[in-house]
């Protein structure tokens, strides 16, 4: 079976966001493979190590720099990559059409996708791709196993954790807790450089954005930043309660 793992390249969590000319400027920032996607690659590898006869294909859609993130996935153990180069920002609904077309072309049966990507804070990609393919989905998965063609796992719903069974083909979205992604070893990094990355253009997919981004800005809420040493706990908390009652007026 073929497993697709969706790759996105996002700002390193330790980096601050820079804005230039009303838009996020990533030019001088450290970019990494989204942790959510690392969980997907890792889980695909684990399913294979647990006995699934699987070929794992990393798929990315975006600027050429995404190859770096893809090489990380390949160094972790993915077999090959598909990179659709494009410089327009595709929203999740548009992007899902590209992914669905690739899934069909590759005859994939399982797709891993991040639960919420750290760049656009969207949760829509997995479900939209599943809908286009007519597949079911399991979102926010934190435990997974495969028995024959049935996936069993656990995921988070609105106010509960559910155990589920679902038959392949399916889309699974990941989250923290699913696994602990491996670090690529040096030999695997060397080997990954020879792995095939197929390049395609967006024009081959006939997809255009559904949303127009008008502006991006950082609205920093001014914080009072009052700091009190708690060595004298009674005095410090008296100041806090005074602050909450008289200045912030948020408690009675």
């Amino acid at each position: 079976m073929r497993i697709l793992t969706v790759i996105r390249q996002v700002l390193d969590a330790e980096e601050s966001v820079k804005i230039a000319g009303g838009a996020v400027d990533l030019a001088s920032s450290k970019l990494v493979l989204d942790t959510m996607d690392e969980y997907g690659v890792e889980e695909a590898l684990r399913l294979r190590e647990a006995g699934a006869d699987a070929e794992i294909i990393a798929v990315a859609v975006g600027p050429a720099r995404l190859e770096e993130a893809m090489r990380t996935a390949l160094a972790m153990g993915a077999d090959r990559g598909v990179l659709v180069e494009c410089d327009v920002a595709l929203d999740a609904i548009a992007l899902s059409s590209v992914l669905a077309q690739i899934a069909k072309a590759e005859a994939a049966e399982l797709i891993f996708c991040g639960g919420q990507q750290a760049d656009w804070d969207s949760q829509a990609l997995g479900a939209a791709t599943a809908e286009r393919l007519g597949w079911p989905q399991a979102t926010w998965t934190n435990k997974l196993s495969l028995s024959g063609t049935t996936l069993s796992g656990r995921h988070d719903a609105d106010a509960s954790a559910e155990s589920f069974d679902v038959a392949l083909p399916a889309v699974v979205t990941t989250q923290q807790g699913l696994n602990e992604p491996r670090y690529p070893t040096l030999p695997n990094i060397m080997k990954s450089k020879r792995k095939e990355v197929k390049r395609q253009t967006l024009a081959e997919f006939g997809v255009t954005p559904k949303l127009k981004v008008l502006s991006q800005e950082i609205q920093v809420k001014q914080r009072a930043n009052k700091m009190v040493d708690g060595k004298d706990a009674a005095a410090a908390t008296a100041q806090l309660v005074h602050f909450l009652r008289e200045e912030a007026k948020v408690i009675a």
Partner: protein
């Protein structure tokens, strides 16, 4: 028509439904506001919905007794089409954000996710939402015969109830359920839900233990009538249930007061609470990132500060 898909729990409409009605009324989209209620045995929910909307549509079917993304998407898309909706508003809950993309694909519509504002401008819908782990505010525009929108909980005021609207039963064709839920660990709490609370008290590793959490965070929450929140780390450690998790992979909250007890402030946690009105942090590490977003910070041991705070509040 702007169609709002009702969210409800324990026999009552959720606050998010009232907020979506406000978002719909204030959006400037032409036409009346309709509310769609999906479920089984939901006539009282429908009656409550009729106090805020001119028309209420009810799909009351046994198959809809439990949420499923594919069933919900099928039902919403059918009713939206039948009613000629130009905008469909769906709650920004985990389930809402899970089935809304399917509705968008079914209707070949754009999807605006987790919006904090919504306005019709020159025939397009403009909205703001957060990106980059809630650090950037992005303004986006969507155009089309119909636009699907998920609305961030807490971003809009609660709509006032008014005159009685009409309730119409609708029939929907539903697909078979494919994701089989084999077990459910529900996490019921007597406290106010996180998304509805005006005060949230959250705890992290700095509370020391599950018992330390109860003695500090829960005691403080009970004193203030607040909801209880937790960091991913202590949910993973099994100290607290998942339903209390605040952050990128948990819930996003925006209360008027957020008290962080023993929380260092990883960016993933900050993304779930950094838009709160007033932020208080209690942590023994004076360099903890949480203090950067705090209005009032106390450096010290949570086990000493919180009891003192409780005593002060009871004075």
């Amino acid at each position: 028509m702007i169609l709002v898909v009702a969210e409800y729990a324990n026999g009552k409409l959720s606050k998010s439904t009232y907020e979506m009605v406000t978002a719909a009324r204030e959006s400037g989209v032409a036409g009346p506001v309709g509310v769609l209620v999906l479920g089984s045995d939901v006539s009282s929910i429908a009656a409550e919905a009729a106090t805020v909307a001119a028309s209420v549509f009810v799909a009351d079917k046994l198959e809809l007794a439990h949420y499923d993304a594919e069933l919900w998407a099928a039902a919403v898309a059918q009713v939206a089409k039948a009613q000629g909706a130009t905008a469909v508003l769906i709650g920004g809950s985990r389930s809402g954000r899970e089935y809304s993309p399917r509705v968008a694909v079914k209707l070949e519509a754009p999807l605006l996710e987790d919006v904090i504002s919504l306005k019709s401008v020159d025939g397009a819908l403009q909205a703001e939402h957060y990106t980059f782990l809630t650090r950037v505010t992005e303004r986006v525009a969507a155009e089309g015969p119909v636009v699907i929108v998920t609305v961030k909980p807490g971003a809009f005021a609660k709509a006032d109830s008014g005159a009685a609207g009409s309730v119409t039963n609708v029939d929907v064709e539903l697909p078979a359920r494919r994701l089989k839920v084999t077990a459910e660990a529900s996490e019921k709490t007597e406290r106010i839900p996180l998304g509805e609370a005006s005060i949230v008290v959250s705890g992290g590793r700095g509370v020391g233990s599950a018992e330390g959490f109860t003695a500090t965070v829960e005691a403080l929450a009970d004193q203030l009538g607040a909801a209880v929140g937790a960091t991913r780390a202590i949910v993973d450690a099994g100290w607290r249930p998942y339903a209390e998790q605040v952050g990128q992979t948990g819930k996003t909250v925006q209360p008027k007061l957020y008290i962080a007890v023993g929380i260092s402030g990883a960016v993933q946690h900050l993304s779930g609470m950094n838009k709160s009105g007033t932020i208080v942090a209690i942590n023994k590490d004076k360099d903890a990132p949480i203090f950067k977003v705090a209005d009032f910070g106390i450096t010290g041991d949570t086990q000493e500060i919180v009891p003192a705070l409780l005593a002060e509040l009871r004075k």
